[in-house]
Amino acid sequence: MILDILLSSYPLFLKASWLTLKLTAVALLLGCGVGLIIAFFRISSSKVLNYIAHIYITVIRGTPLIVQIAILYFGISNLVTLSQFWAGAIALAVHNGAYIAEIFRGAIQSIDRGQMEASRSLGMSYPLAMRRIVLPQAFRRAIPSLGNQFIIGLKDSSLVAYVGMQDLWGTGLSEAASNYRQLETYMVVGLYYLVMITIFTYFVNRLEGRLATGRAPKKQAKDNSVAA
């Protein structure tokens, strides 16, 4: 039964889950940085920067992640010696960065032009207005899509198993190869992913709720007769 694999293998899978989590967290953090930079390239008035961002997004979105991981992993280890972890993390960051860039770009462009104009009319410079006024609103608006992309990122991190990492899926593969109980082993692996993502989703939803109430207590808004 599944239960005995769940019980007998849990130290191994917990360790592998921890690696998956660490890898995903580092990759997504880097990915957000890459994404923000590429997003600014895309909305920039410089044609060169637009073009760079366009190429980046086209190439990343137009090729499978597994191919990107393989190219980056073997490419990077040819140039500089990087640990497996960092090669995997960078590959995932580059990949997720392209999607995150589009999320950020959409969120920034969805903020009413009047916000930037009002900021500028008060004497704020473009970077100051971006940082103090536009980005905080854009981040809030990006959270649902960003959460979604993070979930995809966590699941997609399983592909690093194919360059030999012992993450959750990699561990599952080698376990199944040695115990010959593929169905049960893979179901256990699936269960670990499910639990991680459920917990993560819970926190994203809470964050969303918190930020929504941080703007205005909704209950009061209803019985405030002058509210526009």
Binding site: E117, S121, R132, A216
Partner: protein
């Protein structure tokens, strides 16, 4: 105080300003009138460089402002602007909206900025709502906060771009009241508006724009009672 010479501005093939020349004296209240599309909002936006004109000059207090060389941020800090759609910062409370620019642009310390903000909020009668977020406010209240926010930079001139056009009729009065008060205190103001009552009562000069040009201007009583230009007569007739 502020002088524009032969301003020309096009959006693509559409020329919105066709050589506008206008001088506004210190403490003068000028009302810009005209049908929509006549270029009055664009003129106002050129005055603080939210739009950059294609040709012409803007002079303020004897110096020419060059959109590509002058320190526009510093210049804009001295020109307050109030927008039709308020443009308050929704993620900040009323108080935070008002203190934002004094703290981050003028480097005023927080206590001083707050003191100034409370004073200005009191002036626009919004002191009770200091800790409320903008989406809890009515349009009139939002616009009064927006005025306080602009005043917090201690501007030398205030530009109003249809400040009451997005308001429910019963909320227009409270905003006009604040603007009248400002005019009485000697603020230099350029107001794009459709409020003829305000124009007659408060303005020192009414300027009528049509098709990207100034057609007629004068003191409100002569302007409204005895317009000279055919197009002005037509416009004034249509809104009566």
């Amino acid at each position: 105080m502020i002088e524009v010479k032969h301003l020309v501005k096009s959006f693509g093939s559409l020329t919105v300003l066709k050589g506008v020349t206008l001088t506004v004296q210190e403490k003068e209240v000028v009302v810009l009138l005209g049908a929509s599309g006549s270029g009055k909002s664009t003129l106002l936006r050129c005055l603080n460089f939210l739009e950059v004109y294609d040709e012409g000059e803007v002079w303020v207090g004897g110096t020419q402002i060059d959109p590509y060389k002058s320190n526009l941020n510093q210049f804009r800090a001295e020109v307050g602007m109030v927008f039709q759609h308020f443009n308050l910062f929704p993620h900040k409370t009323v108080l935070e909206n008002v203190i934002e620019a004094p703290i981050h642009v003028k480097r005023m310390n927080v206590a001083e900025a707050k003191e100034l903000a409370y004073e200005l909020l009191k002036k626009v009668n919004m002191q009770d709502k200091a800790d409320v977020y903008p989406d809890m406010l009515s349009g009139g209240q939002k616009q009064r906060v927006a005025i306080a926010r602009a005043l917090a930079m201690k501007p030398k001139i205030m530009l109003f771009d249809e400040p009451t056009s997005a308001l429910d009729p019963e909320l227009v009065g409270e905003v006009l009241q604040v603007m009248k008060q400002l005019a009485k205190e000697g603020m230099t103001m350029i107001v794009v508006t459709h409020e003829m009552g305000f124009a007659r009562e408060v303005a020192d000069r009414a300027v009528f724009m049509d098709n990207g040009q100034i057609l007629e201007q004068g003191p409100p009583n002569t302007f409204f009672e005895n317009p000279q230009n055919e197009r002005t007569k037509q416009f004034l007739g249509s809104i009566r």
